[in-house]
Amino acid sequence: MREELIISGRMNPMVDPTLNIWHWQIPLYLFVGGVAAGILFFASLYYIMGREKKYPAAIKWAPMLTPFLLIIGLGALFLDLNHKAFFWQLYLHIRFESPMSWGAWALLVITPLSIVWSATWMKEVFPGWHWKYPILEELETFFIKYRFVIAWIMLLYAVILGVYTGILLSAFNARPLWNTSILGPLFFASSLSTGAAVIMLMAKSHLERNIFSRIDLIMIAIELFLIVHMFMGFQASTQVQIDAANMFLGGPYTEVFWIFVVLIGLILPAFLEVLELIGYKIPIVITSTLILTGGIFLRFIIVYAGQASRYLYE
């Protein structure tokens, strides 16, 4: 038997014994950013495709939430900073090698876009709404004229935001659990799924609810495939990544991940959606809540477990 004992004279707060630099703020931001990206993706996509009459919840109602979601996310990001007084330094540099940098810039583009997009639909969503100042009326007519252009830019930035929430983590090769390119597509699929869940919740017509139920079902299938794929990739990789996967395959994160993310967040809502599609009456609140819960748990577990996964050297 080989025994190994490593003693280190280091005990830096938030770094030792395992990294604990990111707390609730980052996973919360990844979740709300993801939901906003999902909603705006469907809103701009279906607007471009001319489905304005068919999918009002996706194009007009759900986007009303996105400015609030993005502002909550930005607030959480700000709270995460340790040197808050210098946050403006983010907007003095463009660093393409740093996901944190282009995430910050993407947010600077998509947050105002989401506000403009919501504002142009205010009169349709809230009949009787009128802008207090004439300049706002003029701006509204201007933006309504260019809605199509806004939709295209928003579509692009929704994809960037959705994928970025995963790439932010996968760019760190020091944390073997995060260091997989599957994380980008996985988080994007999850953001589309959670975005569709919010749209389902707000949809009034049976047709719209039905189509987003189907979309969500496809997203859940993709997520399940990517999760299995991710663990297969880890198991076939280096020792540090095998160790990272083992945190979920018998290790400390096994129960919480497979029960709350996979079972309650993916398989159960997929089952309910199938029942709904073949004709049973399932309250949409239950399905949507399960999907959103799964989305939150996925972000929290990946962020916390990733910090516990590391290179251990002899």
């Binding site: 038997m1 080989r2 025994e3 190994e4 004992l5 490593i6 003693i7 280190s8 004279g9 280091r10 005990m11 830096n12 707060p13 938030m14 770094v15 030792d16 990294l19 630099i21 990111w22 995460d80 900073l81 340790n82 040197h83 808050k84 007084a85 210098f86 946050f87 330094q89 983010l90 003095l92 540099h93 660093r95 090698e97 740093s98 996901p99 944190m100 940098s101 910050a104 760019a171 760190f172 090769n173 020091a174 944390r175 280096t238 910090q307 590391r310 290179y311 050297y313 002899e314």
Partner: protein, 177 residues
């Protein structure tokens, strides 16, 4: 110019003098350290082996911390030393998460802090504080681009290893074995 450090694991006794010297020289906040001692005990009694290492930031040539910094606060400086500009650092923690050696920590004042190879001393021609105080003279500091420097000579003569080279960081701490 490429500053590097060699640590003779056969001579290091783990006295922690380098740690205390660093904390004093750089006014490191209490409870934190920029360099540290790792003691590895290996094998089963009576076949035991022990290695003691004085570790610090590896001042990597391909630093993930410099790459992921969104504000260029983390940068390559004099002789390839990786430094953090305090007034540019927003304390986002990306560099801390990116370091496979966990060599960085958040300073209580908010910015991120780490070993600087005592660049203020090096610029004056002095060795880093840890090297200057080492009672067993197990630390070698110098320019590996200069083939006549003491560290280049030592690395030519002795066998060495580097920590986690597979992380692709191209570290500049050499552990003589």
């Amino acid at each position: 110019m490429r500053f590097a450090m060699a640590i003779d694991t056969k001579k290091c006794v783990g006295c922690s003098d380098c740690v205390v010297a660093c904390q004093t020289e750089n006014a490191v906040p209490i409870g934190y350290c920029r360099d540290w001692i790792v003691e590895v005990n290996d094998g089963t009694y009576p076949q035991l082996e022990m290695e003691i290492r004085s570790e610090r930031c590896n001042q990597c040539s391909n630093s993930p911390c410099v790459r992921c910094c969104p504000t260029t606060a983390s940068h390559y400086d004099y002789g390839g030393i990786v430094l953090v500009t305090k007034h540019k650092c927003i304390g986002c923690g990306a560099c801390i998460a990116s370091c496979p050696y966990d060599a960085r920590y958040p300073h209580p004042k908010g910015y991120v802090d780490k070993c600087t190879f005592c660049v203020h001393r090096v610029k004056e021609g002095l060795p880093p504080a840890c090297v200057a105080v080492c009672p067993t003279k197990c630390l070698y500091f110098g320019d590996t681009d200069d083939s006549r420097s003491e560290i280049s000579q030592v690395l030519k003569k002795r066998k060495y290893k580097r920590l986690i080279p597979e992380a692709g960081t191209n570290p500049n701490l050499y552990f003589l074995i």
